[in-house]
């Protein structure tokens, strides 16, 4: 089993690269072969990635959420999975290159630096923690996707406004579709973050005797959650449209990145394991 896990660890960055490459060839070069191959390639990569995560869980007797590089693999899987879901729902297949690049980067970092821990903090073996972390990561993956769609929206918006009719204008779906895809990701992200915060608030005070509502990561996540929540409400009530809501999705992602990296690395709290 160990050999298989190692093999998949090495293969996954290659598979993600091949997937990104085929999406890029389909987008920029209109390659018919790439157009046919890209979705099956993504599906196969996702299946193998899932097998890899399950094998790791089985082999090391804990879900792969105990180190930052295990988390990165889950983030890569969440981004690619969420994108595949959105592609399946919307049938818009030519934005994958922009999204899957993120999955490729996260998985490559993970595969290069991941270590195998058999001894972990017992609190990290809890099922509730599994739900808490998985939903938080799915939420962040959805937010990342929403930001990419927001960015694509702003690019196309600028190109249409300034009469530039290059590859961006030609290949991207229309503005309304990009906005819809970004909004769909925001709503998914918000729902998953709600679950993550809900489970966290129920479980964390019981699991940690030094629990504090002023934990920087908790504050950061609640802030991001509130920001997206307000965005959804503003869209429904005040009628925020197009550019404004897309800018919000990008700012939200920047804050999320800040929360995941800077706060996690430089601020201390009970909520920090690695």
């Amino acid at each position: 089993m160990n050999i298989l896990v190692e093999l998949l660890r090495a293969a996954l960055p290659v598979l993600y690269f091949a997937t990104v490459w085929s999406y890029a060839k389909a987008f920029f070069r209109d390659s018919v072969t790439a157009k046919r191959a890209k979705t099956p390639l993504l599906t196969s990569t996702l299946v193998l990635h899932l097998i890899y995560l399950l094998l790791r869980t089985e082999l090391f007797n804990h879900p792969p959420i105990t180190t930052i590089f295990e988390i990165m693999s889950i983030i890569a899987f969440s981004i690619a999975g969420a994108y595949a879901f959105i592609e399946f729902i919307t049938k818009v297949k030519n934005t994958g290159y922009f999204i899957l690049n993120l999955a490729f980067i996260f998985q490559t970092l993970s595969s290069c630096f991941i270590v195998s821990l058999s001894q972990v903090n017992p609190v990290l073996r809890s099922h509730l923690l599994g739900i808490h972390v998985s939903s938080a990561l799915l939420g962040y993956a959805a937010i990342a996707i929403s930001a990419v769609y927001g960015f694509l929206y702003l690019m196309l918006y600028h190109h249409i406004k300034s009469s530039q009719f290059g590859v961006i204008y030609e290949k991207l779906p229309n503005l309304e579709t990009l906005e819809r895809m970004s909004m769909m990701s925001i709503v998914f992200g918000f729902c998953f973050l709600t679950v993550a915060i809900g489970v966290g608030l129920f479980w964390l005070p019981r699991a940690f005797e030094h629990f504090s509502y002023f934990d920087p990561k908790l504050i950061g996540t609640v802030f991001i959650w509130a920001m997206y929540g307000l965005g959804i409400v503003a869209k429904r009530t005040v009628g925020w449209q197009g550019r404004k809501i897309m800018v919000l999705s990008i700012i939200g992602f920047a804050v999320a990145l800040f929360s995941l990296t800077i706060i996690n690395v430089y601020f201390s709290g009970f909520h920090k394991f690695y």
Partner: protein, 433 residues
């Protein structure tokens, strides 16, 4: 060498005021085809559009392309000119001619759209089809033309499915609708307002209706004109004075009126966009001088395009279409080779060769299946007898095919076509590769 000739006039050889003199209605084509068949050809058809009038004919008697004499060609040119009584305006120099494979190559180029005034024109294929249908009605389309037209459609279809020669709008009205599709995902849920009843504006509105626009409103200073337009396109006429309140409830505005100063200012559009909760608004200004203040484009979620902006997208699309010409030429070459192979197979020798090969194959298969039922010495006899049967069976058809030299090309083609179809000799084994 095939016995086909093409004579015609197009945008490269004559200006509009000359080539329009040779434009033919369906009725005129019918009459001309009947006359051409009577005087010159076994099979023929005519294609006539605003940019070209061309006749294609297969001579009744056997000729080689090399012996299409200048007198033959002049007779056909004169026929076209006289058929339209255009002698004063159209001269022989305005018309071109092509023979044999060159004529087929030309027809394929026309069908693919690379010979059109606007490269990638999609209408030409249906216009060729119309010409062919008239020829069929007049019984002027035989096996040769059927096969030629089949290959021509194939060229047209392949160029449209395998290349992007016909993609991207190249007219103002289509380009405007294409832009709308880049902003909105579903035009059936959108509404459009047409201000003025200019020709381009009307065409744009027509394309929007063709794409299923949810609602079309028309405002014109003369309300009667707006009502007349609405009667033909569908939609609703609105008062020209009620223009500003209407702006807030539409997603697309097409303006083409003649006014001094701007009809719609930045302030008015700014107010409208607030009223519509900042939902995207697409403004198409087709007026000269411009109807909408260009500053309007600075307002968030407002997209303004004037004639220059639309011209940029058209130029770019035309460049892209031009870059597809080498791929289209390759398709034409492939289809031309296939057509030439088919034509060669209609010659007597390859058909006899294929027919004999087919019978020999059947003989060999049957002998192989039953060989074990015969003793060693009988096997040789079996070979001999079966070969003799095949030779006897094929003797008369072979002689008849060879003796057809005094038949017309049409009859010969028909006969060979029937033989090939009956025995399933669709691809020549003996003809050139």
């Amino acid at each position: 060498m095939m016995n086909l000739i093409a004579v015609g006039i197009n945008h490269r050889t004559a200006p509009l005021e000359v080539r329009e003199k040779l434009w033919m209605s369906d009725e005129e084509i019918r009459k001309a085809v009947a006359e051409l068949r009577e005087k010159f050809f076994a099979e023929c058809f005519i294609v006539s559009t605003c940019n070209r009038t061309e006749l294609y004919g297969l001579y009744r008697e056997k000729r080689d392309a090399e012996i299409h004499t200048p007198a033959d060609i002049d007779a056909l040119k004169d026929f076209l000119v006289d058929a339209k009584g255009a002698g004063g305006t159209v001269t022989r120099e305005h018309l071109y001619s092509m023979a044999s494979t060159n004529a087929v190559n030309h027809l394929f180029k026309v069908a693919s759209g690379i010979d059109s005034m606007v490269i990638g024109d999609v209408q030409i294929l249906s216009q060729i089809k119309d010409g062919f249908n008239i020829a069929s009605e007049q019984k002027a389309a035989g096996p040769f033309l059927h096969r030629l037209l089949q290959s021509t459609y194939h060229v047209g279809k392949r160029t449209r499915s395998e290349t992007t020669i016909a993609e991207g709008a190249v007219s103002v009205s289509y380009a405007a609708v294409e832009l709308a599709n880049k902003i909105f995902s579903d035009l059936t849920k959108k509404s459009a307002l047409l201000i003025g009843a200019g020709e381009t504006g009307e065409l744009t509105a027509k394309h929007l209706v063709g794409r299923g626009i949810g609602e079309l409103l028309v405002a014109n200073r003369t309300k009667g004109k707006a009502e007349a337009l609405v009667a033909s396109l569908g939609g609703k006429a609105v008062d020209f004075e009620a223009l500003l309140p209407t702006l807030a409830r539409v997603d697309i505005v097409v303006s083409s009126v003649t006014v001094d100063g701007y009809l719609l200012t930045k302030g008015e559009i700014g107010k409208a966009i607030k009223e519509r909760s900042h939902k995207p608004l697409f403004l198409i200004d087709l007026g000269v001088p411009r109807n909408i203040d260009p500053e309007v484009n600075k307002i968030e979620n407002v997209f303004l395009y004037d004639l220059d902006g639309i011209a940029r997208i058209i130029d770019q699309n035309l460049q892209k279409r031009k870059s597809e010409i080498p791929r289209v030429s390759q398709i034409i070459l492939e289809e031309l080779t296939e057509f030439s192979n088919w034509h060669s197979s209609l010659q007597v020798s390859p058909t006899i060769h294929d027919l004999r090969a087919h019978f020999e194959q059947v003989r060999q298969e049957e002998v192989e299946k039953n060989i074990n039922r015969f003793s060693g010495e009988d096997r040789e006899l079996l070979e001999l007898v079966t070969k003799r049967i095949i030779n006897k069976l094929l003797h008369l058809p072979t002689t008849n095919l060879k003796n057809g030299s005094d038949e017309s090309e049409e009859e010969k083609h028909r006969k060979l076509h029937i033989v090939r179809s009956l025995f399933g000799l669709q691809k020549s084994k003996g003809g050139p590769a």
